[in-house]
C-alpha cells in the first residue's frame, strides 16, 4: 500500500520550508531511520527520516523548492509486500472531506446568510435553579462576626473530615494575621494547623501536591495580594489537574484569605483579584459578604472536589450578622442571593460592595427609588439567571464593584445583560467601580478612589433617568 510522504513540520508553528535536498531517488529501497531528504527552515535544517520500510515511488516536489507548505505530499512510498495487509487494516481512515471543509468555512458563525432556524443557536438555555436550603422555622439566629463564621466553618469541617487541614503563614501560633484561624491550633494541633515558611509560591505548590495526595488543604494567604506569586500553582496546576489528567486526578484545595482594599495599606496591598480568578476555567471563585454566606459557602468550598479561591475582605471580618444556628449550615455554590427586594433598579454586587449597595438602597428609598440588591456570592460559576431574573423585574441594572472597572465582574454582568437580557433593558447597564489607578495611600485620595455608596446612588438615579 502506498504511503504519502508529507512535508514535515519541525515545530508546531512551522508553516512552510525549503526542500533542500533529496537523499534518495525513485525506486530506492529504504528502511526505518534512513534519511530521505533535508528540509530547511529559517530556524534550522532537519533530516527527514523514513519511518517504515518501503520503496520510494514518485517524487512530487523537486529539491531546491522553496516555500513548501507543511503537509504537502512530497513523495510516495510503497510499502513492502509483507506489510501490505497490515497497513491496509490499520491505516487511519481519512476524514470525510465535505465535512471537514465545512467545519472551517470562512465567515461561519458571523450570522451572514443564516437560515432562520439558526437564530435558535443563540437562544439561551434555561439554567437549573438551585436554592439555599430552607432554614427550619424556629431556628435560633445568632449574631456572629464574619471572622468567627469563617473559623467555625473550618473547625466544623476539620472535625467532620480528618483530611482537612489549614496551612499558611502565621496561621497556627499567631492564630492568623487577621485571627481567622483563632483557636484552631489548640483544638487540632500543629499537624493540622501548620505554620509555613514565607513563600506563597511554595506553599501553594505544597497545598496543590497535598490535594493530589488525597488531603483537603485549606491554604491561607495572609492577603491575596501576596498570592500573585502563587498564581501559577493556582491557575496552571490546581485549576487544570482534573482536566489535563483526563479526569484521573483531582485537586480539592481551598485557597482563602482577604482580598480587596482595606484601610491605608497602599497600592500593593489593596487589590481585588475576583475578576482575575473568575476568568479561569477549572476554578470555583467565591466572594461572600455576610456571616451566614461566609460560613455556609466556606463549608461548601471545603467539601468541593474542585479547587476553590475563597475571597474574604479585611474590612468585613469584624462585621456581625445574623446566622442560623444549624448543625450543618452549607450553602450551594454558584447561587446568587437577593439581599434586598426592590422594583425600580437592580444593584448587582459582591463582597464588601454589597454593604455599600445596601447603604445606597436606603438612600435611594428616601428619594423614592426602590432598589433591589443582588449579592452574587459566587463569581465562578456566575449565577447568570439570577441577574437576568432581576433585570426582567426592574429593567435597570447597575454593578457596584470594589475593584478596577476594566475587565471586571461588572464587565461580565454587562455582557450578560446585553447578550441575554437586551429586550428587558430600559437603560444602559452602568458600572460603579474604583478609580482606574493604583490605590493611593493618603486618606483623602484613597477615599475618592474607592467605591462608595454615594457613587452607587448617582448611578442608580442615572439609569432611572432621575438625575
Amino acid at each position: 500500500m502506498a504511503v504519502e510522504l508529507k512535508m514535515p513540520a519541525l515545530s508546531p508553528t512551522m508553516e512552510e520550508g525549503t526542500l533542500a535536498k533529496w537523499l534518495v531517488k525513485e525506486g530506492d529501497h529504504v528502511g526505518p531511520g534512513d534519511i530521505l531528504a533535508e528540509i530547511e527552515t529559517d530556524k534550522a535544517t532537519m533530516e527527514f527520516e523514513a519511518i517504515d520500510e518501503g520503496t520510494v515511488g514518485k517524487i512530487l516536489v523537486e529539491e531546491g523548492t522553496e516555500n513548501v507548505a507543511v503537509g504537502t505530499v512530497i513523495a510516495m512510498l510503497s510499502g513492502d509486500d509483507d506489510d501490505d495487509d497490515d497497513d491496509a487494516e490499520t491505516a487511519a481512515p481519512a476524514p470525510s472531506p465535505t465535512v471537514s471543509d465545512k467545519d472551517d468555512e470562512a465567515g461561519e458563525g458571523k450570522g451572514a446568510g443564516r437560515e432562520p432556524s439558526e437564530a435558535e443557536i443563540t437562544k439561551p438555555v434555561k439554567a437549573k435553579a438551585q436554592r439555599d436550603p430552607e432554614v427550619p422555622r424556629g431556628t435560633n439566629m445568632a449574631t456572629v462576626s464574619v471572622r468567627e463564621a469563617l473559623r467555625d466553618a473550618m473547625a466544623e469541617e476539620m472535625r467532620r473530615d480528618e483530611r482537612v487541614f489549614v496551612m499558611g503563614e502565621e496561621v497556627a501560633e499567631y492564630q492568623g494575621a487577621y485571627k481567622v484561624t483563632q483557636g484552631l491550633l489548640a483544638e487540632f494541633g500543629p499537624k493540622r494547623v501548620i505554620d509555613t515558611p514565607i513563600t506563597e509560591y511554595g506553599f501553594a505548590g505544597i497545598g496543590t501536591g497535598a490535594a493530589m495526595g488525597g488531603l483537603r488543604p485549606i491554604v491561607e494567604f495572609m492577603t491575596f495580594n501576596f498570592a500573585m506569586q502563587a498564581i501559577d500553582h493556582i491557575i496552571n496546576s490546581a485549576a487544570k489537574t482534573n482536566y489535563m489528567s483526563g479526569g484521573q486526578m483531582r485537586c480539592p484545595v481551598v485557597f482563602r484569605g482577604p482580598n480587596g482594599a482595606a484601610s491605608r495599606v497602599g497600592a500593593q496591598h489593596s487589590q481585588n483579584y475576583g475578576p482575575w480568578y473568575a476568568s479561569v476555567p477549572g476554578l470555583i471563585v467565591i466572594a461572600p459578604y455576610d456571616s451566614s454566606d461566609a460560613k455556609g459557602l466556606m463549608k461548601a468550598a471545603i467539601r468541593c472536589e474542585d479547587p476553590v479561591v475563597f475571597l474574604e475582605n479585611e474590612l468585613v471580618y469584624g462585621r456581625s450578622f445574623e446566622l442560623p444556628e444549624l448543625d450543618d449550615h452549607v450553602l450551594p455554590i454558584g447561587k446568587a442571593r437577593i439581599v434586598r427586594e426592590g422594583s425600580d433598579v437592580t444593584i448587582v454586587s459582591y463582597s464588601i460592595g454589597v454593604g455599600m449597595a445596601l447603604e445606597a438602597a436606603e438612600k435611594l428609598a428616601e428619594e423614592g427609588i426602590d432598589a433591589e440588591v443582588l449579592d452574587l456570592r459566587t463569581l465562578r460559576p456566575l449565577d447568570k439567571q439570577a441577574v437576568l431574573d432581576s433585570l426582567a423585574k426592574t429593567n435597570r441594572v447597575i454593578v457596584a464593584e470594589e475593584g478596577w472597572p476594566t475587565c471586571s465582574i461588572a464587565s461580565e454582568i454587562i455582557s450578560i445583560c446585553m447578550e441575554d437580557g437586551f429586550d428587558h433593558l430600559d437603560a444602559p447597564v452602568l458600572r460603579v467601580c474604583n478609580v482606574d489607578v493604583p490605590l493611593p495611600y493618603a486618606a483623602n485620595l484613597e477615599k475618592i478612589a474607592l467605591l462608595n455608596s454615594g457613587a452607587i446612588v448617582e448611578a442608580a438615579k442615572k439609569v432611572c433617568y432621575q438625575d
Partner: protein, 433 residues
C-alpha cells in the same frame, strides 16, 4: 536603575571598573571538544554513609561523583547495588524499549503524526534505573523527559502513543501536549509544561503521605536549568523544614535547550551542593552509570521511607539529542560533545557489564533491539487505529466540556448544549465525531 549622578565619581578615576561575567559554554558548533576538565572519579571509591545519617555527612558526596561501573565493566565499591542478572537484563530491556520508542516517535513527528516529541537518549538511566529503585506505587512527579518511568512501570506503549497522537484512544481526552502523560494507576502525576512546578507538589504530596501515616514516598525530577526557578527552592525549603519523605532528582544533562548548565550556576558549584544549604542529604551520581543511579535512588528511598529525611540527587549526564523535535542543537553546541562525553552511554555500559558477567551476548542484544523495534511498531499500528494528529478521529465533541469541574456546572452545560445545537443546525445529517 539610575544613571550615575552628575556629581558622582567620574569614570576614569583610579577605581577598577566593574565587569559583568556572562557564562559561555566551552564549545560551540565546529569546535573540537576536550572534556578533560571534568573530574571523573574512580568507580567504587566513594563512601556510602548510613541511610539514616545526618544530612551534613553527605556533604563530601555532593562534590564527588558516585560511580560503580568501571572501564573494566565490573561493579565496584560500597554503592554496588548487587542486582541479580534477571533484574539487570530487565533494566537493559527497558533501556532498549525506550530507545526504540523514542526513535519511532521522533520519526513519527517528522511524518506529521504528532506535532511534538522529546527523546531521552543518553539519559535513560536517570529515569529507568531510578524508577526501578522505587516501589511501584511511590508517587512520581517527573519532568518531560522521564518516559522511562512509565516504561519501567509497565504502562502500555499503545496508551503512550494514543496520548502522543491525541487520538480517540487518548486517556487524557486530547487535552494535553504530546508526551505530557498522566497515569493515576501508575502513580505518575500529570506532567506540567511549566517548569519546576512539580517540585513543591512532590514535596506537598510527600507531606500529605506523612500526615496520613502512609508508607509511600514521592520522587520528582527536574532539569538542572529549572533549578533556577523559585519553585525548586521552595521545594527544598519545605522538604527540609518538614523532613518530607521525598527525593528531588536533578537531571543535569548540561543543556537547557541552548543554555548550558552555567546559566543555572554550574560554573560555581555542583547542583548536588544546593542540598547543603537547605540541610538536605545530597548525592552526586554518574547519571550514565545505571548501577550508581539505582544505588543512589535506593539509598534516598530507604532514607525517606524510614523518616530520615529528603535527598537531593544530581544525576550528572548528557543530553545526547536535541531538546525536542522543535530544536536543532547543531546551531549552538559542538556535535563532538556527544561522542566525547567522558561517561559513555548508559545502555552500552549496562550491556557490557552483563556481557562481562557472562549473562548476555551481542547476538541476544541485537535480537532484543529488533524485538523492541517490532513491539513499538506493532503498538504504533495499534494506536493508529485510533487515529493520528489531524485525522479527525477524536473524542466525542462533548468531552471538551467535561472535567473542567468535578460536575458539569450550568454555564458549561449551557455552552455545550448551545454548541451541540449549533452543530445540529449546521450538519443536520450528523457529523462524524
Amino acid at each position: 536603575m539610575a544613571d550615575r549622578p552628575a556629581n558622582g565619581t567620574a569614570q576614569g578615576s583610579n577605581k577598577p571598573a566593574l565587569s559583568l561575567h556572562v557564562p559561555e559554554p566551552k564549545y560551540r558548533p565546529g569546535d573540537e571538544v576536550d572534556f578533560s576538565h571534568i573530574a571523573i572519579t574512580k568507580p567504587g571509591a566513594q563512601p556510602r554513609p548510613d541511610e539514616a545519617c545526618e544530612a551534613s555527612e553527605t556533604a563530601p558526596l555532593t562534590l564527588d561523583l558516585i560511580r560503580v561501573l568501571g572501564d573494566d565493566n565490573q561493579a565496584h565499591g560500597p554503592w554496588d547495588p548487587k542486582l541479580d542478572a534477571d533484574t539487570l537484563r530487565q533494566m537493559l530491556h527497558h533501556f532498549a524499549m525506550v530507545r526504540a520508542f523514542d526513535a519511532r516517535m521522533y520519526r513519527g513527528q517528522r511524518q506529521g503524526k504528532t506535532s511534538f516529541y522529546m527523546k531521552c537518549t543518553g539519559e535513560e538511566a536517570t529515569s529507568i534505573s531510578a524508577a526501578m529503585a522505587l516501589a511501584s506505587d511511590d508517587m512520581v512527579f517527573p519532568s518531560y523527559r522521564q518516559q522511562g518511568i512509565l516504561i519501567a512501570r509497565g504502562y502500555p506503549l499503545v496508551e503512550m502513543i494514543n496520548q502522543i497522537y491525541s487520538n480517540r484512544g487518548d486517556k487524557l481526552k486530547g487535552r494535553q501536549l504530546p508526551i505530557m502523560y498522566s497515569s493515576r494507576e501508575n502513580s505518575f502525576f500529570s506532567i506540567s509544561g511549566n517548569l519546576a512546578t512539580q517540585t513543591p507538589q512532590a514535596v506537598g504530596w510527600a507531606m500529605a503521605s506523612a500526615i496520613k501515616g502512609d508508607t509511600r514516598i514521592a520522587a520528582t525530577w527536574v532539569g538542572e536549568g529549572s533549578t533556577a526557578e523559585g519553585d525548586f527552592h521552595s521545594a527544598c525549603t519545605f522538604a527540609a523544614v518538614y523532613n518530607a519523605p521525598v527525593i528531588i532528582n536533578v537531571v543535569n544533562n548540561q543543556w537547557a535547550i541552548s543554555s548550558f548548565s552555567g546559566f543555572a550556576g554550574a560554573e560555581r558549584t555542583t547542583f548536588a551542593a544546593r542540598a547543603l544549604g537547605y540541610g538536605i542529604a545530597g548525592l552526586r551520581v554518574d547519571g550514565n552509570d545505571p548501577l550508581a543511579v539505582y544505588a543512589a535512588e535506593r539509598w534516598a528511598a530507604n532514607r525517606a521511607r524510614s523518616n530520615s529525611g529528603p535527598t537531593l540527587i544530581e544525576h550528572f549526564t548528557y543530553r545526547a539529542e536535541g531538546h525536542s523535535t522543535s530544536d536543532d542543537p547543531g546551531a549552538y553546541r559542538s556535535a563532538h560533545e556527544g561522542e566525547e562525553w567522558p561517561l559513555g552511554d548508559p545502555v552500552n555500559r549496562l550491556k557490557k557489564h552483563l556481557i562481562e558477567l557472562g549473562e548476555w551476548d551481542e547476538d541476544r542484544h541485537a535480537a532484543m533491539d529488533i524485538a523492541c523495534a517490532e513491539e513499538v511498531k506493532a503498538a504504533t499500528k495499534e494506536a493508529e487505529k485510533n487515529g493520528i494528529l489531524g485525522h479527525g478521529l477524536h473524542h466525542p465533541f462533548h468531552t471538551m466540556f467535561e472535567d473542567v469541574f468535578e460536575t458539569l456546572p450550568w454555564h458549561l452545560e449551557e455552552q455545550a448544549a448551545q454548541a451541540i445545537h449549533e452543530r445540529e443546525v449546521k450538519w443536520p445529517e450528523g457529523k462524524k465525531p
